[in-house]
Subunit: 291 residues, 2 copies
Protein backbone atom coordinates (compact mmCIF):
# COMPACT_ATOMS: atom_id res chain seq x y z
CA UNK A 1 0.00 0.00 0.00
CA UNK A 2 1.49 3.29 -1.10
CA UNK A 3 -0.09 6.65 -1.90
CA UNK A 4 1.30 9.38 -4.10
CA UNK A 5 -0.52 12.27 -2.54
CA UNK A 6 -2.59 12.81 0.58
CA UNK A 7 -4.92 15.79 0.52
CA UNK A 8 -5.35 16.79 4.12
CA UNK A 9 -8.41 19.00 4.52
CA UNK A 10 -8.24 20.42 8.03
CA UNK A 11 -4.81 20.60 9.63
CA UNK A 12 -5.66 19.96 13.26
CA UNK A 13 -4.80 17.35 15.87
CA UNK A 14 -6.41 14.38 14.13
CA UNK A 15 -5.60 15.33 10.54
CA UNK A 16 -2.04 16.27 11.44
CA UNK A 17 -1.51 13.03 13.35
CA UNK A 18 -2.87 11.05 10.38
CA UNK A 19 -0.36 12.70 8.04
CA UNK A 20 2.53 12.13 10.46
CA UNK A 21 1.51 8.51 11.00
CA UNK A 22 1.40 7.80 7.23
CA UNK A 23 4.82 9.43 6.86
CA UNK A 24 6.20 7.33 9.68
CA UNK A 25 4.86 4.24 7.92
CA UNK A 26 6.45 5.43 4.66
CA UNK A 27 3.08 4.96 2.99
CA UNK A 28 2.86 8.39 1.39
CA UNK A 29 4.96 10.46 -1.02
CA UNK A 30 3.67 13.94 -0.24
CA UNK A 31 0.99 15.70 1.73
CA UNK A 32 -0.88 18.72 0.46
CA UNK A 33 -2.71 20.50 3.22
CA UNK A 34 -5.61 22.91 3.26
CA UNK A 35 -7.13 24.48 6.29
CA UNK A 36 -9.66 27.27 6.66
CA UNK A 37 -7.18 28.97 8.95
CA UNK A 38 -4.03 30.20 7.19
CA UNK A 39 -2.08 30.07 10.44
CA UNK A 40 -2.90 26.36 10.92
CA UNK A 41 -1.68 25.65 7.39
CA UNK A 42 1.56 27.55 8.01
CA UNK A 43 2.04 25.83 11.35
CA UNK A 44 1.46 22.43 9.71
CA UNK A 45 4.00 23.30 7.02
CA UNK A 46 6.63 24.46 9.50
CA UNK A 47 6.16 21.26 11.54
CA UNK A 48 6.54 19.16 8.34
CA UNK A 49 3.09 17.70 8.90
CA UNK A 50 2.26 18.80 5.36
CA UNK A 51 4.71 19.26 2.51
CA UNK A 52 2.79 21.97 0.68
CA UNK A 53 0.13 24.41 1.69
CA UNK A 54 -2.70 24.49 -0.84
CA UNK A 55 -4.41 27.76 -1.57
CA UNK A 56 -7.78 26.16 -2.05
CA UNK A 57 -9.52 22.96 -1.13
CA UNK A 58 -9.73 22.08 -4.85
CA UNK A 59 -5.99 22.55 -5.30
CA UNK A 60 -5.33 20.24 -2.36
CA UNK A 61 -7.35 17.33 -3.77
CA UNK A 62 -6.04 17.71 -7.34
CA UNK A 63 -4.24 14.48 -8.20
CA UNK A 64 -4.64 13.10 -4.66
CA UNK A 65 -5.20 9.35 -4.35
CA UNK A 66 -6.04 9.75 -0.66
CA UNK A 67 -8.22 12.50 0.82
CA UNK A 68 -8.80 12.97 4.54
CA UNK A 69 -11.50 15.40 5.54
CA UNK A 70 -10.54 16.20 9.11
CA UNK A 71 -12.80 19.18 9.78
CA UNK A 72 -15.51 19.65 12.43
CA UNK A 73 -18.62 17.54 11.93
CA UNK A 74 -20.80 20.43 10.81
CA UNK A 75 -18.27 21.52 8.15
CA UNK A 76 -18.01 18.12 6.43
CA UNK A 77 -20.93 18.52 4.01
CA UNK A 78 -19.68 21.82 2.55
CA UNK A 79 -16.21 20.40 2.33
CA UNK A 80 -17.32 17.30 0.39
CA UNK A 81 -19.42 19.46 -1.96
CA UNK A 82 -16.41 21.63 -2.68
CA UNK A 83 -14.11 18.75 -3.59
CA UNK A 84 -16.52 16.59 -5.58
CA UNK A 85 -15.60 17.87 -9.01
CA UNK A 86 -11.86 17.96 -8.37
CA UNK A 87 -11.52 14.37 -7.10
CA UNK A 88 -9.30 11.92 -9.02
CA UNK A 89 -11.05 8.83 -10.25
CA UNK A 90 -9.12 6.51 -7.97
CA UNK A 91 -9.23 8.68 -4.83
CA UNK A 92 -10.23 7.19 -1.48
CA UNK A 93 -12.03 9.83 0.58
CA UNK A 94 -12.52 9.52 4.33
CA UNK A 95 -13.71 11.78 7.13
CA UNK A 96 -12.86 11.40 10.82
CA UNK A 97 -16.10 12.71 12.34
CA UNK A 98 -17.29 11.48 15.74
CA UNK A 99 -20.83 10.69 14.56
CA UNK A 100 -21.74 8.77 11.45
CA UNK A 101 -25.46 8.74 10.62
CA UNK A 102 -25.79 12.46 9.86
CA UNK A 103 -22.42 12.51 8.10
CA UNK A 104 -23.51 9.68 5.81
CA UNK A 105 -26.64 11.62 4.85
CA UNK A 106 -24.53 14.73 4.28
CA UNK A 107 -22.11 12.75 2.09
CA UNK A 108 -24.98 11.42 -0.04
CA UNK A 109 -26.14 14.98 -0.67
CA UNK A 110 -22.65 16.36 -1.24
CA UNK A 111 -20.84 13.66 -3.21
CA UNK A 112 -23.75 12.47 -5.36
CA UNK A 113 -22.39 10.23 -8.17
CA UNK A 114 -18.98 10.15 -6.45
CA UNK A 115 -20.37 8.64 -3.22
CA UNK A 116 -18.67 5.29 -4.02
CA UNK A 117 -15.24 6.76 -3.18
CA UNK A 118 -16.27 7.73 0.36
CA UNK A 119 -15.61 5.51 3.39
CA UNK A 120 -16.73 7.20 6.63
CA UNK A 121 -14.15 6.66 9.38
CA UNK A 122 -13.91 7.41 13.06
CA UNK A 123 -10.59 6.91 14.82
CA UNK A 124 -11.35 6.68 18.54
CA UNK A 125 -8.37 8.71 19.61
CA UNK A 126 -7.83 12.25 20.71
CA UNK A 127 -6.62 14.49 23.42
CA UNK A 128 -8.05 17.43 25.32
CA UNK A 129 -5.46 19.59 23.55
CA UNK A 130 -6.36 20.51 20.02
CA UNK A 131 -4.41 21.90 17.10
CA UNK A 132 -1.67 20.67 14.82
CA UNK A 133 1.01 21.56 17.38
CA UNK A 134 -0.18 18.54 19.41
CA UNK A 135 -0.26 16.13 16.45
CA UNK A 136 1.69 12.89 16.93
CA UNK A 137 2.56 10.04 14.57
CA UNK A 138 1.62 7.59 17.35
CA UNK A 139 -1.85 8.97 18.12
CA UNK A 140 -3.65 5.97 16.57
CA UNK A 141 -1.34 3.26 17.86
CA UNK A 142 -3.34 0.58 19.65
CA UNK A 143 -6.56 2.57 19.21
CA UNK A 144 -9.75 1.48 17.50
CA UNK A 145 -10.97 2.95 14.26
CA UNK A 146 -14.54 2.35 13.14
CA UNK A 147 -15.47 2.35 9.46
CA UNK A 148 -19.13 2.70 8.48
CA UNK A 149 -19.22 2.10 4.70
CA UNK A 150 -22.33 3.21 2.81
CA UNK A 151 -24.12 0.74 0.52
CA UNK A 152 -22.48 2.67 -2.33
CA UNK A 153 -18.93 2.49 -0.95
CA UNK A 154 -16.62 0.70 -3.39
CA UNK A 155 -15.60 -2.63 -1.83
CA UNK A 156 -11.95 -2.32 -2.75
CA UNK A 157 -11.84 1.19 -1.27
CA UNK A 158 -13.34 -0.16 1.95
CA UNK A 159 -10.59 -2.78 2.03
CA UNK A 160 -8.00 -0.10 1.28
CA UNK A 161 -9.38 2.16 4.03
CA UNK A 162 -9.07 -0.73 6.47
CA UNK A 163 -5.47 -1.24 5.43
CA UNK A 164 -4.67 2.47 5.85
CA UNK A 165 -5.84 2.57 9.47
CA UNK A 166 -4.17 -0.73 10.29
CA UNK A 167 -0.93 0.54 8.77
CA UNK A 168 -0.91 3.47 11.19
CA UNK A 169 -1.54 1.30 14.23
CA UNK A 170 -5.33 1.07 14.59
CA UNK A 171 -7.52 -1.94 15.07
CA UNK A 172 -10.41 -1.59 12.62
CA UNK A 173 -14.09 -2.41 13.22
CA UNK A 174 -16.77 -2.18 10.56
CA UNK A 175 -20.38 -1.43 11.50
CA UNK A 176 -23.43 0.51 10.41
CA UNK A 177 -23.63 4.27 11.09
CA UNK A 178 -26.53 3.62 13.48
CA UNK A 179 -24.64 1.01 15.50
CA UNK A 180 -21.68 3.38 15.60
CA UNK A 181 -23.70 6.32 16.85
CA UNK A 182 -25.41 4.26 19.53
CA UNK A 183 -22.12 2.80 20.77
CA UNK A 184 -20.38 6.16 20.79
CA UNK A 185 -23.29 7.78 22.61
CA UNK A 186 -22.82 5.15 25.33
CA UNK A 187 -19.06 5.16 25.72
CA UNK A 188 -18.09 8.68 24.72
CA UNK A 189 -20.85 11.23 24.19
CA UNK A 190 -22.78 10.55 27.40
CA UNK A 191 -19.60 10.34 29.54
CA UNK A 192 -18.61 13.76 28.19
CA UNK A 193 -22.05 15.19 28.96
CA UNK A 194 -21.86 13.74 32.48
CA UNK A 195 -18.39 15.11 33.09
CA UNK A 196 -19.40 18.58 31.87
CA UNK A 197 -22.48 18.51 34.12
CA UNK A 198 -20.51 17.24 37.13
CA UNK A 199 -17.99 20.07 36.83
CA UNK A 200 -20.80 22.61 36.35
CA UNK A 201 -22.55 21.33 39.48
CA UNK A 202 -19.40 21.98 41.51
CA UNK A 203 -18.59 25.27 39.79
CA UNK A 204 -21.91 26.85 40.73
CA UNK A 205 -21.36 26.37 44.48
CA UNK A 206 -19.94 29.15 46.67
CA UNK A 207 -17.25 26.82 48.02
CA UNK A 208 -16.07 25.77 44.56
CA UNK A 209 -12.49 26.96 45.12
CA UNK A 210 -12.20 25.12 48.43
CA UNK A 211 -13.73 21.98 46.90
CA UNK A 212 -11.45 22.02 43.87
CA UNK A 213 -8.37 22.66 46.00
CA UNK A 214 -9.05 19.37 47.79
CA UNK A 215 -9.77 17.25 44.74
CA UNK A 216 -7.33 14.44 44.11
CA UNK A 217 -6.38 11.99 41.36
CA UNK A 218 -9.79 10.29 41.28
CA UNK A 219 -11.51 13.55 40.40
CA UNK A 220 -8.68 14.47 38.04
CA UNK A 221 -9.23 11.39 35.88
CA UNK A 222 -13.02 11.38 36.17
CA UNK A 223 -13.26 15.01 35.04
CA UNK A 224 -10.45 15.09 32.47
CA UNK A 225 -12.83 14.90 29.49
CA UNK A 226 -14.72 17.94 30.83
CA UNK A 227 -11.81 20.06 29.54
CA UNK A 228 -12.70 19.12 25.95
CA UNK A 229 -13.24 21.85 23.36
CA UNK A 230 -16.77 23.36 23.38
CA UNK A 231 -16.97 23.86 19.60
CA UNK A 232 -16.13 20.21 18.93
CA UNK A 233 -18.65 18.92 21.45
CA UNK A 234 -21.56 21.13 20.48
CA UNK A 235 -21.21 19.61 17.01
CA UNK A 236 -21.05 16.06 18.32
CA UNK A 237 -24.07 16.40 20.61
CA UNK A 238 -26.14 18.09 17.90
CA UNK A 239 -25.27 15.46 15.32
CA UNK A 240 -26.30 12.59 17.60
CA UNK A 241 -28.97 13.98 19.93
CA UNK A 242 -31.40 11.06 19.98
CA UNK A 243 -28.84 8.40 20.89
CA UNK A 244 -27.36 10.67 23.55
CA UNK A 245 -30.82 11.30 25.03
CA UNK A 246 -31.54 7.54 25.03
CA UNK A 247 -28.32 6.81 26.88
CA UNK A 248 -28.99 9.70 29.24
CA UNK A 249 -32.35 8.26 30.14
CA UNK A 250 -30.75 4.91 31.06
CA UNK A 251 -28.11 6.71 33.10
CA UNK A 252 -30.78 8.68 34.97
CA UNK A 253 -32.43 5.40 35.97
CA UNK A 254 -29.10 4.06 37.21
CA UNK A 255 -28.64 7.23 39.25
CA UNK A 256 -32.19 6.94 40.62
CA UNK A 257 -31.44 3.40 41.83
CA UNK A 258 -28.52 4.74 43.87
CA UNK A 259 -30.51 7.68 45.15
CA UNK A 260 -33.32 5.49 46.43
CA UNK A 261 -30.95 3.05 48.09
CA UNK A 262 -29.12 5.95 49.73
CA UNK A 263 -32.34 7.53 50.99
CA UNK A 264 -33.34 4.17 52.47
CA UNK A 265 -29.78 3.69 53.77
CA UNK A 266 -29.91 0.14 52.42
CA UNK A 267 -26.38 -1.33 52.57
CA UNK A 268 -27.24 -4.44 50.58
CA UNK A 269 -28.70 -2.66 47.59
CA UNK A 270 -25.91 -0.08 47.62
CA UNK A 271 -23.31 -2.84 47.74
CA UNK A 272 -24.98 -4.69 44.85
CA UNK A 273 -25.00 -1.54 42.73
CA UNK A 274 -21.32 -0.87 43.41
CA UNK A 275 -20.35 -4.50 43.03
CA UNK A 276 -21.85 -4.80 39.56
CA UNK A 277 -20.11 -1.64 38.34
CA UNK A 278 -16.82 -2.51 39.99
CA UNK A 279 -16.80 -6.01 38.49
CA UNK A 280 -17.56 -4.78 34.97
CA UNK A 281 -14.93 -2.05 35.16
CA UNK A 282 -12.25 -4.34 36.61
CA UNK A 283 -12.88 -6.96 33.93
CA UNK A 284 -12.65 -4.42 31.12
CA UNK A 285 -9.35 -3.94 29.36
CA UNK A 286 -9.16 -0.77 27.34
CA UNK A 287 -7.85 -1.25 23.79
CA UNK A 288 -4.09 -1.23 23.89
CA UNK A 289 -3.65 0.87 26.98
CA UNK A 290 -3.34 0.69 30.72
CA UNK A 291 -6.34 0.12 33.03
CA UNK B 1 9.79 14.97 65.24
CA UNK B 2 10.55 11.40 66.14
CA UNK B 3 8.32 8.58 67.39
CA UNK B 4 9.37 5.52 69.35
CA UNK B 5 6.51 3.27 68.32
CA UNK B 6 3.73 3.42 65.77
CA UNK B 7 0.76 1.20 66.46
CA UNK B 8 -0.75 0.46 63.08
CA UNK B 9 -4.31 -0.81 63.46
CA UNK B 10 -5.33 -2.11 60.07
CA UNK B 11 -2.54 -3.19 57.73
CA UNK B 12 -3.98 -2.24 54.37
CA UNK B 13 -3.04 0.10 51.54
CA UNK B 14 -3.35 3.35 53.49
CA UNK B 15 -2.03 2.11 56.84
CA UNK B 16 0.82 0.25 55.18
CA UNK B 17 1.77 3.27 53.08
CA UNK B 18 1.72 5.46 56.20
CA UNK B 19 4.15 3.11 57.99
CA UNK B 20 6.45 2.93 54.96
CA UNK B 21 6.37 6.71 54.53
CA UNK B 22 7.32 7.31 58.20
CA UNK B 23 10.15 4.81 57.85
CA UNK B 24 11.39 6.51 54.71
CA UNK B 25 11.37 9.81 56.62
CA UNK B 26 13.26 8.13 59.48
CA UNK B 27 10.63 9.47 61.84
CA UNK B 28 9.84 6.18 63.58
CA UNK B 29 11.80 3.56 65.53
CA UNK B 30 9.45 0.62 65.19
CA UNK B 31 6.02 -0.31 63.93
CA UNK B 32 3.73 -2.73 65.71
CA UNK B 33 0.91 -3.86 63.50
CA UNK B 34 -2.46 -5.37 64.21
CA UNK B 35 -5.02 -6.39 61.66
CA UNK B 36 -8.24 -8.36 61.98
CA UNK B 37 -6.90 -10.60 59.24
CA UNK B 38 -3.91 -12.68 60.29
CA UNK B 39 -2.78 -13.03 56.68
CA UNK B 40 -2.65 -9.22 56.26
CA UNK B 41 -0.49 -8.99 59.40
CA UNK B 42 1.85 -11.67 58.11
CA UNK B 43 2.03 -10.07 54.69
CA UNK B 44 2.78 -6.69 56.29
CA UNK B 45 5.53 -8.29 58.38
CA UNK B 46 7.10 -10.07 55.42
CA UNK B 47 7.08 -6.81 53.41
CA UNK B 48 8.75 -4.97 56.35
CA UNK B 49 5.78 -2.62 56.54
CA UNK B 50 5.52 -3.54 60.24
CA UNK B 51 8.33 -4.73 62.49
CA UNK B 52 6.20 -6.82 64.78
CA UNK B 53 2.83 -8.43 64.46
CA UNK B 54 0.76 -7.80 67.60
CA UNK B 55 -1.60 -10.50 68.81
CA UNK B 56 -4.19 -8.03 69.99
CA UNK B 57 -5.14 -4.46 69.36
CA UNK B 58 -4.24 -3.67 73.00
CA UNK B 59 -0.79 -5.16 72.61
CA UNK B 60 -0.21 -3.05 69.51
CA UNK B 61 -0.96 0.26 71.23
CA UNK B 62 0.95 -0.57 74.44
CA UNK B 63 3.75 2.04 74.74
CA UNK B 64 2.94 3.55 71.33
CA UNK B 65 3.37 7.32 71.04
CA UNK B 66 1.62 7.27 67.64
CA UNK B 67 -1.50 5.26 66.81
CA UNK B 68 -3.01 5.09 63.33
CA UNK B 69 -6.44 3.53 63.05
CA UNK B 70 -6.57 2.59 59.37
CA UNK B 71 -9.66 0.40 59.35
CA UNK B 72 -12.91 0.74 57.38
CA UNK B 73 -15.13 3.63 58.52
CA UNK B 74 -17.70 1.40 60.21
CA UNK B 75 -15.03 -0.41 62.27
CA UNK B 76 -13.47 2.74 63.75
CA UNK B 77 -15.75 3.08 66.78
CA UNK B 78 -15.15 -0.47 68.05
CA UNK B 79 -11.46 -0.05 67.42
CA UNK B 80 -11.20 3.16 69.44
CA UNK B 81 -13.22 1.59 72.29
CA UNK B 82 -10.84 -1.34 72.39
CA UNK B 83 -7.71 0.76 72.64
CA UNK B 84 -8.91 3.45 75.05
CA UNK B 85 -7.63 1.86 78.24
CA UNK B 86 -4.30 0.76 76.76
CA UNK B 87 -3.29 4.15 75.32
CA UNK B 88 -0.12 5.83 76.59
CA UNK B 89 -0.62 9.27 78.11
CA UNK B 90 1.31 11.04 75.36
CA UNK B 91 -0.10 9.07 72.40
CA UNK B 92 -1.38 10.87 69.31
CA UNK B 93 -4.27 8.88 67.82
CA UNK B 94 -5.49 9.41 64.25
CA UNK B 95 -7.85 7.66 61.89
CA UNK B 96 -7.80 7.89 58.08
CA UNK B 97 -11.53 7.60 57.39
CA UNK B 98 -13.06 9.18 54.30
CA UNK B 99 -15.90 10.88 56.21
CA UNK B 100 -15.51 12.89 59.36
CA UNK B 101 -18.78 13.90 61.02
CA UNK B 102 -19.94 10.42 61.97
CA UNK B 103 -16.41 9.37 62.92
CA UNK B 104 -16.13 12.34 65.30
CA UNK B 105 -19.37 11.31 67.02
CA UNK B 106 -18.12 7.73 67.20
CA UNK B 107 -14.82 8.89 68.71
CA UNK B 108 -16.64 10.90 71.39
CA UNK B 109 -18.56 7.78 72.41
CA UNK B 110 -15.57 5.47 72.21
CA UNK B 111 -12.67 7.51 73.61
CA UNK B 112 -14.58 9.40 76.34
CA UNK B 113 -12.04 11.09 78.67
CA UNK B 114 -9.23 10.29 76.22
CA UNK B 115 -10.84 12.22 73.36
CA UNK B 116 -8.17 14.93 73.63
CA UNK B 117 -5.55 12.60 72.09
CA UNK B 118 -7.59 12.07 68.90
CA UNK B 119 -7.05 14.10 65.73
CA UNK B 120 -9.30 12.87 62.88
CA UNK B 121 -7.36 12.76 59.61
CA UNK B 122 -8.19 12.07 55.99
CA UNK B 123 -5.35 11.69 53.51
CA UNK B 124 -6.84 12.23 50.04
CA UNK B 125 -4.85 9.50 48.41
CA UNK B 126 -5.57 5.97 47.33
CA UNK B 127 -5.67 3.56 44.50
CA UNK B 128 -8.26 1.21 43.07
CA UNK B 129 -6.06 -1.64 44.28
CA UNK B 130 -6.32 -2.40 47.95
CA UNK B 131 -4.25 -4.35 50.39
CA UNK B 132 -0.83 -3.98 51.96
CA UNK B 133 0.86 -5.50 48.90
CA UNK B 134 0.14 -2.23 47.08
CA UNK B 135 1.39 0.02 49.90
CA UNK B 136 4.00 2.61 48.88
CA UNK B 137 6.13 5.04 50.88
CA UNK B 138 5.30 7.74 48.31
CA UNK B 139 1.50 7.39 48.39
CA UNK B 140 0.99 10.72 50.20
CA UNK B 141 3.61 12.73 48.30
CA UNK B 142 2.06 15.91 46.95
CA UNK B 143 -1.38 14.87 48.16
CA UNK B 144 -3.68 16.75 50.50
CA UNK B 145 -4.49 15.57 53.99
CA UNK B 146 -7.40 17.11 55.86
CA UNK B 147 -7.44 17.26 59.67
CA UNK B 148 -10.73 17.89 61.46
CA UNK B 149 -9.78 18.40 65.13
CA UNK B 150 -12.56 18.14 67.71
CA UNK B 151 -13.03 20.95 70.27
CA UNK B 152 -11.38 18.57 72.76
CA UNK B 153 -8.33 17.78 70.59
CA UNK B 154 -5.13 18.80 72.39
CA UNK B 155 -3.63 21.77 70.51
CA UNK B 156 -0.09 20.44 70.60
CA UNK B 157 -1.29 17.08 69.26
CA UNK B 158 -3.06 18.87 66.39
CA UNK B 159 0.23 20.65 65.61
CA UNK B 160 2.08 17.33 65.85
CA UNK B 161 -0.45 15.61 63.57
CA UNK B 162 0.06 18.36 61.01
CA UNK B 163 3.81 17.83 61.20
CA UNK B 164 3.43 14.06 60.72
CA UNK B 165 1.49 14.39 57.47
CA UNK B 166 3.77 17.12 56.17
CA UNK B 167 6.80 14.97 56.95
CA UNK B 168 5.46 12.22 54.72
CA UNK B 169 4.78 14.58 51.83
CA UNK B 170 1.22 15.84 52.33
CA UNK B 171 -0.11 19.36 52.24
CA UNK B 172 -2.35 19.75 55.30
CA UNK B 173 -5.70 21.58 55.52
CA UNK B 174 -7.65 22.01 58.74
CA UNK B 175 -11.43 22.31 58.65
CA UNK B 176 -14.58 21.25 60.48
CA UNK B 177 -15.96 17.71 59.99
CA UNK B 178 -19.02 19.21 58.32
CA UNK B 179 -17.01 21.24 55.83
CA UNK B 180 -14.91 18.16 55.13
CA UNK B 181 -17.90 15.94 54.48
CA UNK B 182 -19.53 18.47 52.19
CA UNK B 183 -16.35 19.01 50.19
CA UNK B 184 -15.65 15.29 49.88
CA UNK B 185 -19.23 14.58 48.82
CA UNK B 186 -18.68 17.08 45.99
CA UNK B 187 -15.25 16.04 44.76
CA UNK B 188 -15.10 12.36 45.62
CA UNK B 189 -18.27 10.66 46.86
CA UNK B 190 -20.61 11.93 44.15
CA UNK B 191 -18.08 11.34 41.34
CA UNK B 192 -17.78 7.73 42.53
CA UNK B 193 -21.56 7.32 42.61
CA UNK B 194 -21.80 8.81 39.10
CA UNK B 195 -19.06 6.53 37.75
CA UNK B 196 -20.70 3.44 39.30
CA UNK B 197 -24.06 4.44 37.79
CA UNK B 198 -22.57 5.22 34.38
CA UNK B 199 -20.93 1.78 34.19
CA UNK B 200 -24.14 0.11 35.38
CA UNK B 201 -26.14 1.93 32.70
CA UNK B 202 -23.85 0.51 30.02
CA UNK B 203 -23.61 -2.94 31.61
CA UNK B 204 -27.37 -3.52 31.49
CA UNK B 205 -27.56 -3.08 27.72
CA UNK B 206 -27.52 -6.06 25.33
CA UNK B 207 -24.66 -4.52 23.35
CA UNK B 208 -22.47 -3.96 26.42
CA UNK B 209 -19.60 -6.08 25.09
CA UNK B 210 -19.54 -4.28 21.75
CA UNK B 211 -19.77 -0.89 23.48
CA UNK B 212 -16.96 -1.67 25.91
CA UNK B 213 -14.76 -3.08 23.14
CA UNK B 214 -14.88 0.33 21.44
CA UNK B 215 -14.28 2.47 24.51
CA UNK B 216 -11.09 4.49 24.49
CA UNK B 217 -8.87 6.48 26.85
CA UNK B 218 -11.57 9.05 27.67
CA UNK B 219 -13.88 6.37 29.03
CA UNK B 220 -10.94 4.63 30.70
CA UNK B 221 -10.12 7.66 32.82
CA UNK B 222 -13.73 8.72 33.40
CA UNK B 223 -14.68 5.27 34.69
CA UNK B 224 -11.48 4.35 36.54
CA UNK B 225 -12.99 5.08 39.98
CA UNK B 226 -15.90 2.73 39.20
CA UNK B 227 -13.47 -0.15 39.87
CA UNK B 228 -13.23 0.89 43.54
CA UNK B 229 -13.90 -1.66 46.28
CA UNK B 230 -17.61 -2.14 47.10
CA UNK B 231 -17.08 -2.68 50.86
CA UNK B 232 -15.13 0.58 51.19
CA UNK B 233 -17.69 2.59 49.26
CA UNK B 234 -20.81 1.23 50.95
CA UNK B 235 -19.26 2.49 54.19
CA UNK B 236 -18.42 5.89 52.78
CA UNK B 237 -21.86 6.47 51.25
CA UNK B 238 -23.65 5.34 54.40
CA UNK B 239 -21.53 7.53 56.63
CA UNK B 240 -22.22 10.66 54.55
CA UNK B 241 -25.63 10.11 52.93
CA UNK B 242 -27.10 13.60 53.34
CA UNK B 243 -24.19 15.48 51.80
CA UNK B 244 -24.03 12.97 48.94
CA UNK B 245 -27.78 13.38 48.31
CA UNK B 246 -27.41 17.19 48.35
CA UNK B 247 -24.61 17.05 45.79
CA UNK B 248 -26.59 14.55 43.74
CA UNK B 249 -29.54 16.88 43.59
CA UNK B 250 -27.32 19.69 42.23
CA UNK B 251 -25.82 17.30 39.69
CA UNK B 252 -29.28 16.22 38.54
CA UNK B 253 -30.14 19.86 37.85
CA UNK B 254 -26.93 20.26 35.84
CA UNK B 255 -27.86 17.15 33.84
CA UNK B 256 -31.41 18.45 33.30
CA UNK B 257 -30.00 21.69 31.85
CA UNK B 258 -28.12 19.66 29.24
CA UNK B 259 -31.07 17.42 28.54
CA UNK B 260 -33.40 20.35 27.88
CA UNK B 261 -30.88 22.09 25.64
CA UNK B 262 -30.35 18.87 23.72
CA UNK B 263 -34.08 18.26 23.29
CA UNK B 264 -34.41 21.82 21.97
CA UNK B 265 -31.24 21.35 19.87
CA UNK B 266 -30.09 24.75 21.10
CA UNK B 267 -26.43 25.19 20.09
CA UNK B 268 -25.89 28.35 22.12
CA UNK B 269 -27.08 26.93 25.44
CA UNK B 270 -25.19 23.68 24.85
CA UNK B 271 -22.05 25.63 24.05
CA UNK B 272 -22.41 27.77 27.18
CA UNK B 273 -22.83 24.69 29.36
CA UNK B 274 -19.74 23.04 27.87
CA UNK B 275 -17.74 26.25 27.90
CA UNK B 276 -18.27 26.83 31.61
CA UNK B 277 -17.23 23.28 32.50
CA UNK B 278 -14.30 23.26 30.11
CA UNK B 279 -12.96 26.57 31.46
CA UNK B 280 -13.21 25.48 35.09
CA UNK B 281 -11.56 22.14 34.39
CA UNK B 282 -8.75 23.63 32.31
CA UNK B 283 -7.98 26.24 34.96
CA UNK B 284 -7.86 23.65 37.74
CA UNK B 285 -4.52 22.20 38.70
CA UNK B 286 -4.75 19.03 40.74
CA UNK B 287 -2.58 19.02 43.86
CA UNK B 288 0.92 18.00 42.91
CA UNK B 289 0.03 15.95 39.87
CA UNK B 290 -0.52 16.14 36.17
CA UNK B 291 -3.66 17.61 34.59
Amino acid sequence: MHFKKLALIGCGLIGGSFALALKRAQAIERVSGFSASLSSREKALSLHVIDESANSIQEAVQGADLVLVAVPVNAIEACLSNIRESLSDEALVMDVGSTKHQITLAAQRALKERLHCFVPAHPIAGKERHGVAHAEATLFDHHKTILTPTPQSDAHLVALAKQVWQTIGSTVSIMSPEEHDQALAAISHLPHLIAFAAVNAIAQQDQRDLFLSLAGPGFRDFSRIAASAPSVWVDIFLSNPNEVLDQLSMFKKAIANFEQALMRKDPQIIENLIESASTVRKDWTPTGSKK
